[in-house]
Amino acid sequence: MLRYIIRRLFLLIPVLLGVTFLTFALVRLIPGDIVTRMMGVTDANNPQTRALVLHELGLDRPLLEQYVWWLGRLLRGDFGYSFLRHSSVLSEILRRFPISLELGAFSMLIAMLIGIPLGVLSAVKRGRVLDYAARLFSLFGISAPNFFVGTLIVVFGAIWFPGITTLGYVPFHQAPLQNLERMFWPALTLGIGIGAILLRYTRSSVLEVLGEDYVRTAEAKGLSPFSVIFVHALKNALIPVITAISVWTAFLIGGTVLLEQVFTIPGVGRLILSAIQDRDYPIIQGTVVFLSFCVALTMLVSDILVALVDPRVKFT
């Protein structure tokens, strides 16, 4: 297994190299640059100042040189310095990452609490009202974009329940309850979307397992339906669900961007958005590379977890 992990880690190198190259190239394809952001519609937005600013930021050097220079610093753990914010990229990321992580974890918890029980129920009560209701819910969860659901919660929440605060962020260490109260709404929004997907996975997987011989045997032994489903069937049915959970966890790492904007949560997502608006290249590049690394690691961990749960999977 160790060899497998080491091999996977080595495979990360070309992936991350590709990511660095793509991000570096893509941010430079966005029209406009930091100089316009700083100088605006003024006389100072002239070739001389432009040259001065570009030189100071190192943007006047050949692209390949800029890329190699940035990559070299990155390898030493130096993510660079923001063009605009007077702070290092890594400090900005590290300050915000726990916030996005909390939102992601909270969302996944809600998704599992919604998706797995409803999925099992839907499979067991197949063809009944409950099944249809659950499937309708899942259809809504999958098809309604989360920023839309989020905006509905923000706008109508304020009109119908003016006492509840759905917006903003309070650090957990300052006021844990307020933190959870405010994180709940964006987490619920994300949780509904992913929960709907997990519901489908769980449902189809449980249905499949319920048709297996060993379940029929268990039923024939006269075990209670509860024991048949939760002790015998679910154990096997959950294996594809776990894979789905890990894939969606990886998604959540970068997938909270829009919701952070809707619910005004100062996480990594908002950092990327405002950096894109400002053309703050070091921040965009650094954040995307950081997130890609986290996604790749999550995928690796999930593959290992699946192998541990499912003895049929072998490390090769």
């Binding site: 100088m39 519609v41 006389d43 009109i159």
Partner: protein, 522 residues
């Protein structure tokens, strides 16, 4: 201008003197705080990113550092100037030297007394090419800024420079920073000014918190313990925060939200200040169809400005010009000033002009837009211009910065952007219209216009200067160099009923927060 300069060595007497000088000014704003304490929360957009005065052209950050730093002068609603850090000032007879007498006993947040050296430092920094301030060319007329003594500062000018007082009253341009603190500090983390509030922390994309400056020179103010700007970029979310009670005030730039906000209980609209933001439509005046003055005049007459104001601004706006009515006393005011040429909606006359120009069969134009209000304006314009045979295709540019870039280098397309408030008509029009300006928005080359712009720059007699800028506006409308569909206030503010004595000013500045108090028991 008369002045009474007293050389006071004793700090206590100096403090008393400042206190007295302050009272005269405060009387106009509010007699005294109705109550002390409390923190006022305002949702704010966009994220300021950099709170360093004089460093960025972006306007929004200055609304925050305006609370931390002072300027030498202040602007009254009628456009006159009032003392701030300078108590009096006078020009030499040739108008090439401006002497300012500074307020004594004013303390910086880091504990040192404000003096002439700080003024010299502030202006040397802004004029230093290495600092790369966007305002550097605005200060070209300044030869030298020097400290005569601790409390007197002299501006030596290369030529009379009429906009100077205005620039001195604008924190966006000339917030006074301390010479001993500024170079060594990251002003996003620690700041020191002489303003009513002190920076507590700025957490990017989250909030900026300020606390009252206990040594603020206007004695008895600020009334609040602090101010919190929550960074909330989505207007819907700002409104929800206001409704939920997590914001005490809310400021919105799009009037479509006014009807929604009017329904929020226990709150009301702050009477809006005069209009200062104009939507400006730039055209290429030397190449393509819009090089023909008849085409431009036809476009102007084919534009139903009233209808645009009614639909895009829900009626909360006025006819557009380059220097709007809120920029008193220079602005063109609807109903007060004589009507501008080619402003009357007349599609038949427009069609005739287009036919004369050889476009009887129609004309195709492209227009770039990015901001929501400008997009709506363009869509309505497309409908209106269809009636005069102009087929307008709208190009939506994803973000404002890119559009600005295209706008500055206007090529074959037309472009609409909302232009922001500027402190002086000179800074408002010179760069945009002057033939050699780097951001000349329509490739204008007009000797008469240049002559008027030059005259406006040096004319120090206010009445004569007002006439110059009125002439410029008439000329621009007559030649249809740029079209201005509407002007509007910087924003519309709503406040909860317990927020007292807040006043909106044309620049959108939150300066009145120093006199604002909260009438609620906590």
């Amino acid at each position: 201008m008369p002045h009474n300069r007293s050389i006071v060595a004793n700090l206590a007497i100096a403090l008393l003197a400042t206190g007295l000088a302050g009272i005269g000014f405060q009387a106009k704003a509010a007699p005294h705080c109705g109550a002390h304490g409390g923190t006022l929360t305002i949702p704010f957009a966009p994220d300021p990113a950099d709170l360093t005065p004089g460093k960025n052209a972006e306007y929004a950050p200055s609304l925050i550092f305006d609370e931390i730093y002072d300027t030498l002068l202040r602007r009254a609603p009628d456009g006159k100037f009032e003392p701030d850090l300078a108590t009096s000032w006078e020009y030499s007879p040739d108008h090439k030297t401006l002497t300012l007498h500074l307020r004594q006993g004013v303390m910086f947040h880091h504990g040192r007394e404000f003096e002439a050296k700080d003024v010299v430092y502030t202006f040397d920094r802004l004029r230093d090419p290495e600092f790369k301030s966007p305002w550097i060319s605005q200060f070209k007329s300044i030869e030298k800024v020097e400290a005569v003594d601790k409390y007197t500062v002299k501006f030596a000018l290369k030529e009379p420079f009429a906009p100077l007082l205005s620039l001195l009253a604008t924190p966006w341009y000339t917030a006074i920073v301390p010479y001993d603190f500024t170079p060594a500090h990251n002003l996003n983390k620690q700041a020191s000014g002489t303003g009513p509030f002190m920076l507590v922390e700025y957490v990017p994309d989250d909030h900026v918190t300020l606390k009252a400056n206990p040594h603020y020179w206007e004695k008895g103010y600020p009334c609040l313990d602090g101010v919190r700007f929550n960074i909330v970029t989505d207007p819907q979310a700002q409104i929800s925060a206001f409704r939920q009670g997590s914001a005490d005030m809310v400021a919105l730039e799009d009037p479509k939200f006014i009807p929604i906000l009017k329904r929020v209980p226990d709150s009301s609209m702050v009477p809006p200040a005069g209009p200062v933001n104009e939507s400006g439509l730039a055209m290429n005046t030397v190449e393509g169809p819009t090089a023909d003055i008849r085409v431009r005049r036809a476009l102007s007459m084919g534009m139903d400005r009233e209808a645009i104001i009614k639909t895009v601004l829900f009626g909360y706006g006025q006819l557009g010009t380059k220097i709007p009515c809120g920029e008193a006393p220079y602005g063109w005011c609807e109903g007060k000033d004589p009507p501008l040429p080619y402003y009357k909606y007349d599609p038949e006359a427009a069609k005739k002009l287009l036919a004369e120009a050889g476009y009887a069969k129609g004309l195709a134009l492209t227009m770039q837009v990015s901001l929501p209000l400008d997009v709506q304006t363009a869509e309505i314009l497309a409908e209106q211009w269809k009636k005069i045979g102009v087929n307008l295709s709208i190009q939506r540019i994803a973000d404002f910065n890119t559009q600005l870039d295209n706008y500055i280098h206007v090529k074959d397309q037309t472009s609409i952007v909302t232009l922001v408030w500027q402190p002086d008509p000179h800074s408002d029009v010179y760069q945009i219209y002057y033939s050699t300006s780097g951001i000349n928005l329509g490739k204008f080359k007009d000797k008469d216009l240049d002559a008027l712009l030059d005259a406006g720059k040096v004319e120090t007699d206010i009445d004569k200067r007002v006439q110059i800028y009125k002439k410029i506006q008439t000329l621009v409308a007559d030649k249809a160099y740029m079209l201005y569909p509407f002007t509007k206030p910087y924003n519309w503010l709503f406040e909860k009923d317990y927020v007292k004595d807040y006043k909106a000013v044309p620049s959108g500045s939150y300066a009145a927060l120093r006199y604002t108090w909260l009438d609620k028991k906590k």
